[in-house]
């Protein structure tokens, strides 16, 4: 950390002029009337220089602030984009997990239907006919899609919940 006094050494020359002028005011007998005029002229000249420099520094400072604002806006925008991309990636991953789970369930269901339901369906064939049984199987297959959506939503909620828990734990640790 730079000390206040060190930082303002950039105004060393201006400080010297001020101290010199203050010293003269405290002991006016040090100068003749003509010298007062010269001192005043010097002071005006230095003041004009200082005013010019203050204008320049203000202008530079304002431009730096604008640059900083733009950089901050840019960072905020990039951050928002990154959050959205991460959210999409998470959704994509959860969706894949849900699809895999539904495929496993479908496979299990297929095996189960082959063993337990098919013999019953053969009975039904006599009642509903062959096309009726096919329709029934298609309906079962279509019913798997809502199951996938339900699973996806459940997994998403679980992921969000675990993210919140992690964030809370991290916050607590800090």
């Amino acid at each position: 950390m730079i000390k206040h006094t060190e930082k303002y050494q950039v105004f060393e020359r201006e400080n010297e002029i001020l101290q010199h002028s203050k010293a003269l005011l405290e002991k006016p007998e040090m100068l003749l009337e003509r010298s007062w005029m010269e001192e005043y002229e010097r002071l005006v000249e230095c003041y004009a220089q200082l005013l010019g420099e203050v204008k320049l520094l203000t202008s530079v400072s304002d431009r730096l602030q604008n640059k900083l604002n733009k950089a901050n806006e840019n960072i905020a925008r990039k951050n928002e984009e990154l959050t959205q991309t991460l959210e999409m990636l998470k959704r994509e991953r959860v969706s894949k997990q849900a699809t895999s789970l539904v495929l496993v369930v479908a496979a299990l269901f297929f095996v189960f239907s082959e063993i337990a339901i098919d013999p019953q369906l053969e009975e039904s064939t006599r009642l509903f006919g062959f096309s009726g049984v096919i329709m029934l199987k298609i309906m079962v297959a279509i019913a798997l899609k809502p199951l996938e959506v339900l699973l996806e939503n459940f997994l998403l909620k679980t992921a969000v919940q675990s993210k919140k828990t992690l964030a809370y734990d991290k916050h607590e640790r800090n």
């Binding site: 730079i2 930082k7 105004f11 530079v60 730096l64």
Partner: protein, 124 residues
């Protein structure tokens, strides 16, 4: 008189001041934590140089960014060059063509300093 040379860092500019040829260069960023501490050796070098300057001093400035303290130090450098009356002094202020801020800074210095400052845009 020895030349003044400093390598560029992430926060300070490259500085190459050749006393014999009068070719000066400052390039890069100038955001030192303590600008006066960084520039003081250069001020002292310039105080010596202006006593016996080269017949022509060409100061090339290729800064991409500088903080407020550095701009005050630049004023101090230019004030020293203003004192050279027996020789020619030119400041070439380079800025990237799409960097309006550096262009305007150059214009501000040109208004303030009594040394010719030539502004030149370079392709970015």
């Amino acid at each position: 008189m020895e030349n003044f040379f400093l390598e560029e860092t992430s926060k300070t500019p490259k500085m190459s001041f050749d006393a014999r040829t009068g070719r000066f260069l400052m390039a890069g960023r100038s955001i030192p934590e303590n600008a006066i501490e960084f520039y003081k050796p250069l001020f002292e070098w310039l105080d010596e140089y202006i006593k016996n300057p080269s017949p022509k001093t060409i100061f090339e400035i290729k800064l991409e960014y500088f903080n407020t303290s550095s701009s005050k130090c630049l004023v101090e450098i230019f004030r020293r060059l203003e004192k050279i009356k027996s020789a020619e002094v030119v400041i070439n202020w380079y800025y990237e063509e799409d960097d309006e801020d550096m262009q305007e800074s150059g214009e501000d210095f040109r208004e303030l300093i009594d040394v010719p400052i030539i502004l030149t845009a370079i392709p970015s």
